[in-house]
Amino acid sequence: MMEYFDKDGHLTEYAFALLQKDDTDLETRFEISEHLSFCDMCLERYTAYLTNDKLIENIPSGISENVFKKIKYRAKKLLFNKYSTVAIAAAISLTIWGGNTLNTVYEFSAKLYTADIKKIVTEQYEKTEKVIEDKLEKLINNIFDKEKEL
């Protein structure tokens, strides 16, 4: 039986050929990937082995479009997470301390006493979340649209 590691612990050409086969078992594939993850020499040999004729012809379409969509989504999520906490804390503080402070405090305390605390916080959160989300959507769309124009 042919070996996929040589006597020095490096991958053989047989290992690269095994990867092209459909019925290569999970353990073998995992061991080969593990070796390629740290061995620069074998990585270079594997990359050189993958000539044009060995690449899959009909790959699924839309890889690059999906990549940019995901990058855009993650940028939005990152910005939202960063600023929403601060914004919500500020919004709640303003609700309590803005205007007629004492009455507001009494009103708010009464609300907390009689009503569901979670419901009040959730309502305030959702209002602020929508405002921030709309603004971020506009900002990120502007950035990507300007890039297209260039």
């Binding site: 590691f5 040589d6 993850s37 999906n66 990507f144 890039e147």
Partner: protein
């Protein structure tokens, strides 16, 4: 790097990256997801790479993504055993009965270790027989410590299964 330039890089290497991912995971949808994850990681780090080495760099990212994916599948399939795997072969229960049975088991174990194939051969010999540390093995074989640790665990598991199979015969 602007998005247009990165888009050109993706178009140039998407067949390669998809092929690499598919060769490891053998599933179109998983390979598609891993290819996208590869390019997303590349997007955030592309300035760190010399453009003459994009092919190898992208391939390495794709392999790492595929490896992590396979690892979770592999762990579910194979049970990993603890530190005292071999204690049942070299335990006190054998000593009162016949000392040579214990010696036999130790010799059997040594033979199995010496006959292991790569990628477990060298790590097993150095760890079990030469009693070298993970750091020493990692340095000698130029493999990451984490890799050495997991290879030792898998070698242990293989040896235990082989010895158990023989005991049952």
């Amino acid at each position: 790097m602007d998005n247009n330039k990165f888009n050109l890089i993706m178009k140039k290497y998407e067949r390669l990256i998809f092929t690499v991912c598919f060769n490891f995971v053998k599933n179109y949808d998983d390979a598609m997801n891993l290819s996208q994850e590869t390019f997303i990681s590349a997007y955030y780090n592309i300035e760190k790479c010399d453009e003459n080495h994009y092919k190898e760099w992208l391939t390495r990212i794709a392999i790492n993504k595929s490896k992590d994916f396979l690892k979770s599948a592999y762990i579910k399939k194979v049970s990993v055993v603890g530190e005292d795997t071999f204690s049942e072969f070299i335990t006190e229960k054998y000593i009162p009965e016949k000392e040579y049975i214990m010696t036999e088991n130790v010799n059997k174990l040594k033979e199995k270790i010496l006959n292991l194939k790569e990628p477990y051969k060298f790590v097993s010999r150095m760890y079990f027989l030469e009693e070298k540390s993970i750091s020493e093995i990692s340095e000698a074989l130029n493999r990451p410590k984490k890799t050495v640790q997991t290879q030792i665990q898998r070698a242990r598991s293989k040896l235990k299964n082989e010895l158990l199979e023989e005991e049952l015969k």
